[in-house]
Amino acid sequence: MPQPASRPRSTLASLALIGAVCVAATGALAYTAGWLSPDRLTPTKLVDALAPPTGPVRGHRRNHAKGICFTGEFQSNGAGAAISRAQAFEAGQHPVLGRFNLGTPEPLVADASVRVRGMGLEIATQRGAVWRAALINAPVFPVSTPEAFYALLQTSASKEPNAMAGFAAAHPEIATFGAWAKSPDWTASYAEEPYNSLNAFLFVDGAGTEHAARWSLRPEAPPERITPEELGRRGDDVLEREITQRVAAAPARWTLVLTLADPGDQTADPSRAWPEGRRSIEAGTLLVQRIEAEADGPCRAINFDPTILPDGIRVSDDPFPAARSAAYAKSYDLRTAESADYPHHPKAAP
């Protein structure tokens, strides 16, 4: 600033400087908030893109909207402690809360119309460490990056006839997921599905050494292979009815399997499976002991954010957990604000 020649000009220059500081600070905040970057992929955009053509279903999760709550326990055998100091891997029983769900933004669709089944899971140890996860039955994720996932959602909503062919050409990694999705071998129960983390996490052992791993829940129940047509004939809510009856009779069980990356295995791309033969650890058994309708069940309040990790587990260079966390938070904020629209009392049994 040039040396002011007189007091009035000095005052004017000072006021201009003060104004400039305020404008610059506001501009910097606006830039950081993305208000000046309409192309930025935001949680809002991602969540909006998940909505069905008729618009989001208010009061419900924006994806995996149809679901049913469960509680139970994780019986840790202590083997997981070899790669992680997380309390959940200490031998013993740890309380579990979760939710079986369908990968759809519409909570009232028929169970046989949705290929992707999921499990939201929370293992909370007595000493207060909370581990949340959201797993699905697909062996891999459709695409490599959150940006590509957003593009996939937009393409799916597109009315152009060749949109999906063009997308598949640009994102050839979707073929693996596509082959799985098209396979007619469905199962007849939530209890017969494997549930996979898909994303790689870093498991940190007691010495502080990191081990990259993906993990899965492998069902003990033998699968009853069924076509979606046959499943559809059993009713719109067949999966919820079946799991309720099954668990009332006896707990449903899964083995928690940690699969370790070999040196050189990529951990950033959940659309690509690691080769067979990777070292794996069976860390214990998940027991689902009680099923409750979502409306009054304990899972409704929970955001199964896969970045809510206990000491001993961290995110890896896989970009998805962060993107999912941001989008899940947005979905949670929206649906809790729309609580009045949610059917809080369970509907009569079908």
Binding site: M1, P4, S10, T11, A13, S14, L15, L17, I18, V21, C22, A25, T26, A28, L29, T32, A33, G34, R40, L41, T42, P43, L46, G128, A129, V130, P146, A301, I302, N303, D305, T307, I308, D311, V315, D317, P319, P321, A322, A323, S325, A326, A327, A329, Y332, D333, T336, A337, S339
Partner: protein, 199 residues
């Protein structure tokens, strides 16, 4: 209040400027993280929670220090409306320093989120899980954060107005480094150093 003081104590100035850095960082971390799906979202959120609790703790210390050390008087010739604005805005700044971390903490509690800071420090829930409460607290946290930003900006503008236009010693009372303005010889170790005033 200690009569005759023209500057805040060194402890008060240290608290003021370190909290200023934290609070300004929080505005940018806050708006940045909620508009991002990038990997940085995870560390930004952890930083936001940790820094928020740090601000709450510092605010408690600051209030105690303020109660003990007081504040230098405003210039006698300060017009009454400006004096009123100064007093009200400082009540607002103090209130928001406490309110925003508490609202954030309560909002996470109402959302059944575990509140975990850097270093694995786990905080207890301070309100019960409730969708209605979560929404109320979320809105309060969101809108009051922008109000806080506006108030901080007003505070900065007023400080610069005192420093550059009125030149009445108000800015120097909280300036991080020494200034000749308002410091009687021998009362302040910084007095007599080279002038640091701008303009």
């Amino acid at each position: 209040m200690i009569a005759g003081n023209t500057r805040f104590t060194a402890a008060q100035r240290l608290l003021h400027w370190s909290m200023a850095l934290c609070i300004i960082a929080m505005f940018f971390i806050g708006v940045g993280m909620v508009s991002s799906v990038m990997p940085k979202y995870v560390p930004l959120l952890a930083t936001h929670k940790t820094l928020g609790l740090a601000i709450l703790a510092l605010a408690l210390v600051r209030l105690a220090v303020r109660a003990r050390s007081g504040a230098p008087p405003l210039p006698a010739d300060l017009p009454a409306p400006m004096r009123l604005a100064a007093e009200l805005s400082h009540y607002g700044l103090y209130a928001l320093m406490f309110a925003l971390p508490l609202l954030g903490w309560a909002m996470l509690s109402a959302g059944a989120y575990p509140v975990v800071l850097y270093g694995g420090i786990r905080l207890p829930a301070i309100v019960p899980q409730s969708e209605v409460l979560h929404t109320l607290l979320w809105n309060a946290h969101y809108y009051l954060a922008f109000a806080f930003f506006a108030l901080v900006l007003t505070h900065v503008a007023a400080a610069l107005f005192h420093a550059l236009v009125r030149r009445d010693g108000v800015f120097e009372a909280m300036a991080p480094i020494g200034s000749r303005i308002g410091a009687a010889p021998g009362t302040d170790s910084d007095a007599g150093h080279a002038a640091t005033r701008k303009a």
